[in-house]
């Protein structure tokens, strides 16, 4: 009841803003002042790095400053609240990642898809199960066998309960691979748990542990996706192993619903140029992102919606 009232108010407010904005904020003069880029996470993380790179590359294209503002808290919810409190005129946008999106699959989310307009998807990359380099589990089959023989004994370090990590592991559990999920919200503790042998495996994106992969301290035994990646051609995908789950990490840029379509298009076009720049391509490669990550404003909403459907399906059958 409360949430329907709230979303009604949100839609109404958005519509109202659109009416007011319709007259003056067309793409012709846009942007006339700096555009705020909200990062709903603290400084230094993956979302923050993306924001600062995009800001740097996009500023000369739009001719205005794009200050990055970190508003951490509530798995991204605090930053999203700030975005939704700003007028829908295209002068505020936010980094939107899969982990925040996962909140929508949970109970009483603080915003819905009706409140936001995805402008572009900037990076997509599958998640992996990693083990320590000298782990006794040579392959996924070893891990699976041990986990099935000793349900609830093997420890897998993840981001936390209710996250994408949690959803993916629940699919494994339905296939008989029952593990203990140990939540570490701090990345450093998550990585030490593997390198120090305190946990048996790690759920993570490859870009975040690149330093451990390159220095041969960790190795992947499975990736969550439909097919293998060229950079990890010996690592089997979850689909070929019989687990129908593929929830990639993604980082997108969103604005408020009701932002004039031509403004959205202008920013989306600029982001397309950002994505095509050699500097961004290098970043994508370092992050082990899908080379075809970018989705513009015409395709991004469908992608983001599909992700939510997939997450909900994972939770529903739980």
């Amino acid at each position: 009841m409360r949430s329907t009232t709230r979303s009604f108010v949100a839609i109404f407010a958005a519509a109202l803003c659109a009416v007011f904005a319709g007259g003056k904020a067309t793409a012709a003069g846009y942007p006339e002042r700096p555009i705020e880029l909200i990062v709903p996470w603290g400084p230094g993380g993956g979302a923050d790095q993306l924001a600062r790179l995009v800001s740097k590359l996009m500023e000369p294209m739009l001719g205005q400053g794009i200050p990055v503002v970190n508003v951490p808290g509530g798995t991204g919810a605090t930053g999203m609240a700030k975005l939704l409190a700003a007028p829908a005129d295209g002068y505020a946008m936010a980094i939107y990642i899969a982990d925040s999106h996962a909140l929508l699959a949970g109970k009483s989310p603080r915003w819905t898809m009706q409140d936001i307009t995805p402008v572009a998807v900037m990076i997509k990359g599958p998640s992996f199960i990693f083990v320590k380099q000298d782990s006794p589990y040579k392959t996924w089959a070893d891990f699976e066998k041990d986990a099935k023989a000793n349900p609830g004994k093997l420890k897998v370090a993840t981001l936390g309960f209710g996250s994408v990590d949690d959803f993916s592991l629940s699919v494994l559990a339905r296939g008989g691979v029952k593990v203990v999920q140990v939540p570490f919200s701090k990345p450093s503790e998550r990585y030490v748990s593997i390198l120090g042998g305190h946990a048996d495996a790690l759920y993570e994106q490859a870009g975040d542990v690149a330093q451990f992969l390159n220095s041969k301290q960790m190795r992947p035994i499975m990736l969550f996706g439909e097919k293998r990646l060229p950079a990890f051609k010996d690592t089997p995908s979850s689909h070929e192993l019989g687990y129908k789950v593929a929830l990639p990490q993604f980082r997108a840029i969103v604005m408020r619903a009701g932002t004039p379509p031509d403004v959205v298009k202008k920013v989306s076009d600029a982001l397309a140029k950002v994505a095509a720049s050699p500097e961004y391509k290098k970043f994508l490669e370092e992050q082990f992102g899908d080379p075809a990550s970018f989705e513009d404003a015409s395709k991004a909403p469908a992608f983001v919606n599909q992700q939510l459907e997939d997450m909900k399906k994972t939770v529903a059958t739980n």
Partner: protein, 500 residues
């Protein structure tokens, strides 16, 4: 050994190029400013500087960031000692003896001690880091959640040293702090606690808001009560000495060593950092030190212990970063980002592939410490003069600093209201003779301790004995209990002596 010295020498030469020297100075000055501003934490400062390093050469950018990191642990001591606002959470222990020494008319001396402590702790820790990178890194890997919890319990147990007058009041204050820390969405299961369905509380209460409010705003309120009439300090101009004499320092060399080694070890632990190092080191000194009875009355030990440990923790935190690629703290995570940006992968092979850069980083820590102290030395005199200004004016600036600090934490106006609220709480606590420090300690360490406790329970199937059966956790726990039991034992013995 000679190999290390040779490479370190090369590192010094690399640091002495004009561009690197400029970066070193810039980094130190910015780091000091960040330290001074409450709310603008080290991590934020280093993150804000990162984009400027994109175009720099790798050595210059790491030199800039690590100089900021080192001097950021020192700058906050100025505001803590002069105005009773901790610029960083690490400076909270600086309030007890540092501020008290300042109030007794020796602010320049108190600042002199922090300078010596930062230099001594930093240099010792840097030397340990250079000599023992590999073995220390492997030691760091042995820490897991039970060990984090044990270390945090040890930090919390330093509360017995903080409740000067009454242990009971200190424990009540700590409990209030721990309770405040539970407000918001719980980290492990996402349950809402004490949020009363409001958005304000759903994201929890930032410890920085509590810290800045209870100390900064609370102090201004206390001065307002007296109508800014009290001349706080006897004429500052009379105090000439700034640096402690060689004799005074050599009397404390044992505790310099103790605090620095402790700071270094705590810096190594991925779940802990400068803040915990500072609290634990103060607690150790107050409980086991030679002049433990006088701690809190403005003695040098109370300044040296937290400052030496805080600066020493930087060297410790860089070890797992360089040797294993594990960022042990927020700031080192960003330094890792800078390394990777320039195509250097910290990790076991880094000494083989990029020894040049690594030794330049080591050398920059030494040079940074030295330069930081020179800048700090010349800053003491003009800064102490501020205390000669009318109190009302100083208080206005203090309040402005508090507001800027509270807003910069997460750009949230609600935090300003919370900060004012905690200012009133801090003032009320002082009036009712409840110490504020345990409250702040509880708010800072509470969430960390809770998360590591929950994680241990999940990870070890609710077996609480792991805290005592794992060697490192068990040892730390024994120390914790010793710390907690000591005041009671002393009381008991005093009574026996009195009876006999």
């Amino acid at each position: 050994m000679s190999q290390i010295l040779l490479q370190l020498g090369q590192g010094f030469l690399d640091c002495l190029t004009p561009i690197n020297l400029i970066m070193l100075v810039v980094g130190i000055v910015i780091g000091l400013l960040i330290g001074v501003l409450p709310g603008l934490t080290l991590v934020m400062g280093v993150a804000l500087a990162l984009p400027f390093t994109y175009k720099m050469d790798v050595t210059a950018s790491i030199v800039l960031l690590s100089a900021m990191y080192v001097s950021g642990t020192y700058g906050g001591a100025f505001t803590a000692i002069l105005f009773r606002i901790p610029g960083e959470p690490i400076d909270v222990p600086m309030l007890w003896d540092g501020y008290t020494m300042g109030r007794k008319g020796q602010p320049a001396k108190a600042l002199g001690w922090t300078l010596v402590a930062a230099l001594g702790g930093g240099l010792l820790s840097a030397t340990i880091m250079v000599m023992l990178t590999q073995p220390l890194a492997h030691f760091a890997l042995r820490f897991s959640t039970p060990e984090y919890f044990a270390v945090l319990m040890f930090g919390l147990s330093s509360v017995v040293a903080l409740g000067r007058g009454s242990l009971g009041n200190a424990l009540i204050s700590l409990a209030v702090g721990l309770l405040i820390a539970t407000v918001g969405t719980d980290e492990t299961y996402g349950a809402s606690r004490f949020t009363f369905d409001t958005r304000i509380l759903a994201d929890g209460i930032e410890f920085l808001v509590v810290m800045v409010g209870a100390y900064g705003v609370g102090e201004v309120l206390a001065r307002l009560e007296t109508g800014f009439a009290t001349k706080p300090i006897q004429k500052v101009g009379q105090t000439r000495t700034e640096l402690p004499s060689w004799r005074e320092m050599s009397a404390l060399k044992g505790m310099f060593l103790r605090s620095s080694v402790l700071g270094n070890i705590i810096g190594l632990i991925p779940g802990a950092g400068a803040t915990i190092a500072s609290f634990v080191s103060y607690g150790m000194e107050a409980q086991f030190g030679k002049r433990r009875k006088e701690m809190g009355t403005g003695v040098a030990e109370g300044i040296v212990a937290p400052q030496a440990a805080a600066t020493a923790s930087v060297g410790g935190a860089l070890v797992p970063l360089l040797a294993l690629g594990i960022p042990g703290s927020g700031a080192t995570a960003i330094i890792l980002g800078a390394f990777m940006l320039h195509g250097i992968q910290p990790g076991p092979q880094v000494m083989a592939t990029s020894a040049h850069t690594v030794y330049a980083v080591f050398a920059s820590i030494y040079l940074g410490l030295a330069l930081m102290c020179v800048i700090g030395y010349f800053a003491i005199r003009p800064l102490v003069k501020i205390l000669d200004m009318p109190e009302a004016i100083v208080s206005a600036y203090v309040l402005t600093l508090c507001f800027i600090g509270a807003l910069s934490i997460r750009n949230n106006v609600i935090d300003l209201w919370l900060m004012i609220g905690f200012g009133v709480v801090g003032y009320a606590f002082e009036r009712l003779k409840f110490p504020v420090a345990p409250l702040v300690l509880g708010v800072i360490l509470g969430p960390l301790a809770e998360a590591s406790f929950m994680n241990t329970m999940i990870s070890f199937g609710n077996d609480w004995t792991v805290f005592f059966t794992r060697p490192i956790a068990g040892t730390v726990m024994v120390f914790t209990f010793a710390m907690l039991a000591l005041p009671f034992l002393q009381q008991w013995r005093a009574r026996r002596v009195a009876a006999a």
